[in-house]
């Protein structure tokens, strides 16, 4: 009797909390306002930065186009608030195989740009499934791991998660899009880590990853087997020796470091930033946006962006600790780590302390797929936060 009474009470409490979360007032009350404000700040700052960076490009400022992407992303952000994360957990299989199917379709029918198949042309904009896939990948993997929450320590759990995770990574890798494959790998590591996989398993995986990287970059080429194309390998390892080959693989890197350094404390302004304006720094609106920002706005301008990113990461990790269940915790942890990884690899690459990959800088690099995906991921984080158990009222 008593047990059942308590049970019904808990149930009614939970459903009341959920009802609270879906009404407009409830939504506003339960949002993570610090996260929301820092997101608004970082998106706005990114638009302002891109306006300055692309002002002298042949096509003119890309800020309005980017603003349109941000608006679409904002709509998805709001839509994500109203979806219970449990839905994603239930739909993990359709999500997972849908993502795989989309990536296979890109390989078969996508548009080739600069030698790789990453895009699908949907008329008004070319859509990059591997970019959207990042979030879907985390949602699906978290589902598989949460399912095995009780036996999370067993090697079978680790191996099956690994199996699910590697398939999309390989599909992205052969596009070829090494940068995004690295982001997927980081996300896989993050969900395993947050799900609670044994330290010993994580250690073995880390060792295997290092061994595989060494093999791909060094051992296999030495034995006459090239997994990567020579230019890919040169880009990945070039940052360790930027001095030689000034016009070749590390030309971009050298120009990027020069751009960052030349920015100084206060920046050179839009007109004075010759590296960006005179196009010495290629891809300054996308891959090397951070370097352009650093050149135009200096240490102050670049630090503001980094600190805003730190704020976002801090709030995201806080959401992990307040999550309703293990699934939500894994998703939040995966998104937070993925975000951190992208910020780090992109900005570090422009400063010569990470390999050159085509990873966009979240909320800054011009590109619809990246902007929309990142906003959607942040919406999911907020949705998790809104449904936290938290302190109860009344």
């Amino acid at each position: 009797m008593a047990i059942e009474a308590v049970d019904t009470r808990t149930r009614s409490l939970r459903s009341r909390r959920q009802a609270e979360a879906t009404g407009l007032g409830g939504v506003l009350r339960r949002l993570d306002w610090i996260l929301l404000l820092s997101l608004v700040a970082v998106v706005g700052y990114g638009l302002w930065a891109i306006d300055g960076i692309t002002k002298h490009d042949p096509g003119g400022s890309a800020a309005s186009r980017q603003g349109l992407y941000a608006a679409v992303g904002g709509a998805l952000f709001i839509a994500a608030l109203f979806v219970d994360p449990g839905t994603y957990q239930r739909l993990r299989r359709p999500i997972y195989f849908g993502t795989l199917g989309l990536m296979g379709f890109v390989l078969a029918a996508g548009a080739v740009t600069r030698g790789s198949r990453r895009w699908i042309d949907v008329g008004f904009f070319t859509f990059q499934p591997s970019e959207f896939g990042k979030v879907l990948f985390v949602l699906a993997l978290a589902g598989f791991l949460a399912e095995r929450a009780r036996q999370i320590g067993s090697p079978t759990s680790t191996l099956s998660a690994l199996g699910y995770g590697l398939a999309p990574i390989v599909l992205v890798f052969v596009q070829p899009d090494i940068g995004t494959a690295l982001v997927y790998t980081a996300a896989l590591a993050a969900v395993l880590f947050v799900a609670g996989v044994r330290w010993s398993h994580l250690g073995i995986l880390a060792a295997l990853t290092v061994a595989a990287a060494l093999a791909v970059l060094w051992l296999l080429p030495a034995a006459g087997m090239n997994v990567l194309k020579p230019y890919q390998a040169a880009r990945l390892t070039g940052f360790t020796h930027p001095g030689n080959d000034p016009q070749g693989a590390t030309y971009n890197l050298r120009q990027s470091i020069t751009a960052v350094g030349a920015g100084g404390l206060r920046g050179r302004g839009i007109l004075g930033a010759t590296q960006t304006r005179l196009n010495y720094l290629p891809e300054h609106a996308t891959d090397f946006a951070f370097a352009s920002l650093a050149e135009e706005r200096g240490f102050f301008g670049a630090s503001i962006l980094l600190l805003l990113y730190l704020l976002v990461v801090w709030r995201a990790l806080k959401i992990v600790t307040g999550a309703r269940d293990l699934y939500c915790a894994i998703v939040a942890g995966g998104i937070a780590t993925m975000f951190l990884f992208q910020v780090f690899v992109n900005s570090a690459m422009t400063m010569g302390i990470a390999p050159i990959t085509g990873i966009p800088l979240p909320f800054v690099s011009v590109g619809g797929s990246s902007m929309i995906t990142n906003l959607m991921a942040m919406g999911i984080l907020q949705a998790i936060h809104m449904r936290r158990p938290g302190r109860r009222r009344g």
Partner: protein, 668 residues
């Protein structure tokens, strides 16, 4: 109370039916802490690196950014030479220096930039206005140089070299200038080279042309630009913040020179034709009717394959005045419409781009068409008299000192107008279901349509038909229904090549080539092939042959053609032939026809048009095995025998290497 019972829940044993409430395990908290620590470490690394680059080494990188300016230079490919059929070089290159502005390095403030451009204008002679226009035309790309002048003089180059510090963003580059060893010879055929215009660039930008490129603007320079231009090379040059080169440029891709273009022209014959044209104009001035002679054209063509041997147009110009564009005064007659009219349009190639009434040189067409349509038999005797009366009108013969019945060849030889008026009448009275066979045959012989020569612009001329007249004189524009109808006089005038009929000298040359070669219409062409000129006496390697296209049969009856040929030969040899006085004593047997076409011309300086006679002669030789067809037209030159025929004879004289024993004037 709910609160209390909820709070006491933790003391209850766990029930498998109840979904276990999730709690943050210490293990997960620890792992999140690790992630947080990682995040802090990552941002610390990023900020430290940023600090190190921007604040600690900022000055060094700033200097590098200012210093590190790699420029891609365009190495101009020498343009291919143009040769005549015997390999004489008609157009070649001389090394020159061009002046470039690099927008990225020009002073940023308007006042300073203007001062610099003014100083540059004083040194080079280019105007500030033109330099600003060039800068604006190239658009916003700061790393594409703008060519403001080609062909700098050595003293100008030296001055700029000594004062580089005063001219940031100004650079001199090696380039090539067109050189014309034969000066004005064949100017309109060769064309010239000039800076690509905005409209041309819009059309050709996707085909690898750059906004700074030079491009063939007329003649074969334009038609065969893709072969002549070669491929530009590139080199990289590091410059400092003032745009001054630091060290030598490193070659990236070698420029590959343009290919040589071999023409079908014979430069000796071309010179003879141009001299003959001036001679014909001078001759015309001696006659009463040719006082206003001021222009003309001569075309010489191989009648078997359409190869143009000479193409002269007068007045002419020196293509070299386009080189470097150094003297606007000399260019005015070519570029400024008012000045061009004053100089009688030296830029126009009158052989293909001007149309005249053909006069009696059209009579072979009437003769052939009439025989083909069964309107006349070559030995039918028609009356040649002082005038021809029909439909209440009187049509005069060119001479009134005649009254005899003649056959067709004689009519051609005597150029008897009344004979052809009668043929014209017979065409007019044909029933409507027969169409307009005279115009039809004229079209079939290449009149009223483009010849397809590899030069432009070309005009098609006009062969008037009743349908054309109805379209050209619409009632809605105030023309009465009377003006729109085709009156008998039009057919009668058309038969002697008058009225609204207009032809180009090249079309007439093609017509006479057709008569000469037995009825086939050739496609005229001036380009023989493109080739790599052999060095050290090696033979040239032909890359692509343009050559002759097969002649198109016109379907004309060979027998009918034979009587026309006979008539043309009598015209130059019989005692009654209109050209016998000029060609009769020439050692080679030439056949041809004079023409004196009336045209209303408004001369420069006159308010009203006057009726002036266009002097024509067209023909070919040797009569039995023709190797050359020639057409000469002297604008306002009077009778064909007075000016055009003697001019054409000069061309034959040079071609056959023989001189006529006498050179009398003939009449029409």
């Amino acid at each position: 109370m709910a609160k209390k019972s909820f709070g006491s829940r933790r003391f209850l044993p766990s029930d498998p039916r109840v979904e276990g409430p999730y709690r943050l395990t210490p293990q997960l908290a620890f792992r999140v802490a690790i992630l947080a620590f990682l995040a802090l470490a990552v941002f610390a690394v990023l900020l430290l690196r940023l600090w190190a680059l921007q604040v600690l080494s900022g000055d060094r990188y700033l200097a590098q950014a200012n210093d590190n300016r790699v420029r891609t230079l365009r190495l101009e490919a020498p343009r291919g030479p143009i040769l005549d059929r015997n390999g004489h070089v008609l157009v070649t290159n001389v090394p020159g220096t061009r002046l470039e502005l690099w927008p990225a390095d020009l002073p940023k403030t308007w006042a300073v930039q203007r001062r610099e451009l003014q100083a540059l204008a004083t040194v080079t002679g280019a105007t500030v206005k033109s330099m600003l226009a060039e800068l604006a035309a190239t658009g916003s790309d700061p790393l594409t140089p703008v060519v403001v002048q080609r062909g700098l003089r050595q003293d100008q180059i030296d001055y700029l070299a000594e004062h580089t510090a005063e001219f940031p963003g100004v650079q001199t580059q090696d380039s090539y200038l067109r050189k014309y060893p034969y000066q004005s010879l064949a100017a309109q055929v060769l064309g010239y080279v000039g800076q690509i215009s905005a409209t041309e660039y819009a059309r050709l930008g996707s085909k690898g042309y750059l906004a700074t490129d030079a491009i063939g603007q007329a003649g074969v320079e334009a038609t065969y630009d893709t072969y002549l231009r070669g491929r530009n090379g590139t080199a990289q040059l590091t410059v400092d913040s003032l745009g001054r080169p630091k060290g030598p440029a490193t070659l990236q891709t070698q420029a590959s020179p343009g290919e040589a273009l071999r023409l079908t022209l014979d430069i000796g014959l071309q010179r003879a034709a141009e001299q003959a044209l001036r001679y014909g104009i001078n001759l015309a001035h001696t006659g009463a009717e040719g006082a206003h002679a001021d222009g003309g054209a001569i075309v010489a063509m191989n009648p078997q394959d359409g190869a143009i041997l000479a193409m002269a147009s007068y007045p002419t110009y020196q293509p070299s005045i386009y080189v470097g564009r150094s003297d606007p005064q000399k260019l005015a007659p070519l570029l400024d419409p008012a000045k061009a009219a004053q100089a009688n349009y030296p830029g126009i190639n009158r052989a293909i781009d001007a149309a005249y009434p053909p006069g009696s040189t059209f009579k072979p067409v009437t003769a052939l068409a009439a025989m083909q349509e069964g309107l006349v038999h070559p030995f039918d005797q028609l009356l040649c008299s002082a005038n021809f009366k029909a439909y209440g009108q009187v049509f005069n013969n060119w001479t009134n000192l005649i009254h005899e019945w003649i056959d067709l060849p004689t009519a051609l030889a005597m150029s008897c107008d009344t004979y052809f008026y009668e043929l014209g009448r017979r065409f007019y009275v044909l029933p409507p279901d027969r169409g307009h066979p005279l115009q039809g045959w004229a079209n079939r012989f290449g009149l009223g349509e483009l010849s397809g020569i590899d030069l432009s612009p070309e005009v098609p001329g006009l062969v008037p038909t009743p349908e054309w007249r109805r379209k050209a004189y619409p009632v809605s524009q105030g023309f009465g229904p009377i003006d729109r109808t085709w009156k008998p006089g039009y057919s009668i005038q058309l038969a002697i090549g008058q009225g609204q009929l207009l032809v180009t000298p090249l079309q007439m040359t093609r017509l006479f080539a057709m008569i000469a070669n037995g009825g086939n219409l050739v496609t005229p062409h001036v380009a023989e092939d493109v080739e790599l000129t052999g060095t050290n006496g090696q033979p040239a390697r032909i890359l692509r042959r343009f050559g002759a296209q097969p002649a198109q049969p016109t379907g004309v009856d060979p027998t009918a053609l034979r009587y026309v040929q006979l008539g043309l030969e009598e015209a130059t040899h019989a005692s009654f032939g209109t050209g016998s006085g000029v060609f009769g004593k020439f050692p080679v047997d030439i056949a041809g026809k004079t023409g004196s076409a009336e045209k209303n011309v408004t001369l420069p300086g006159y308010q009203y048009p006057q009726n002036l006679t266009q002097s024509w002669w067209c023909g070919y030789g040797p009569y039995n095995a023709p190797t050359i067809a020639v057409c000469a037209v002297i604008e306002n030159g009077g009778h064909g025998g007075t000016a055009a025929a003697p001019a054409a004879l000069r061309v034959f004289e040079h071609y056959f290497g023989k001189t006529a024993t006498t050179s009398q004037h003939a009449s029409d």
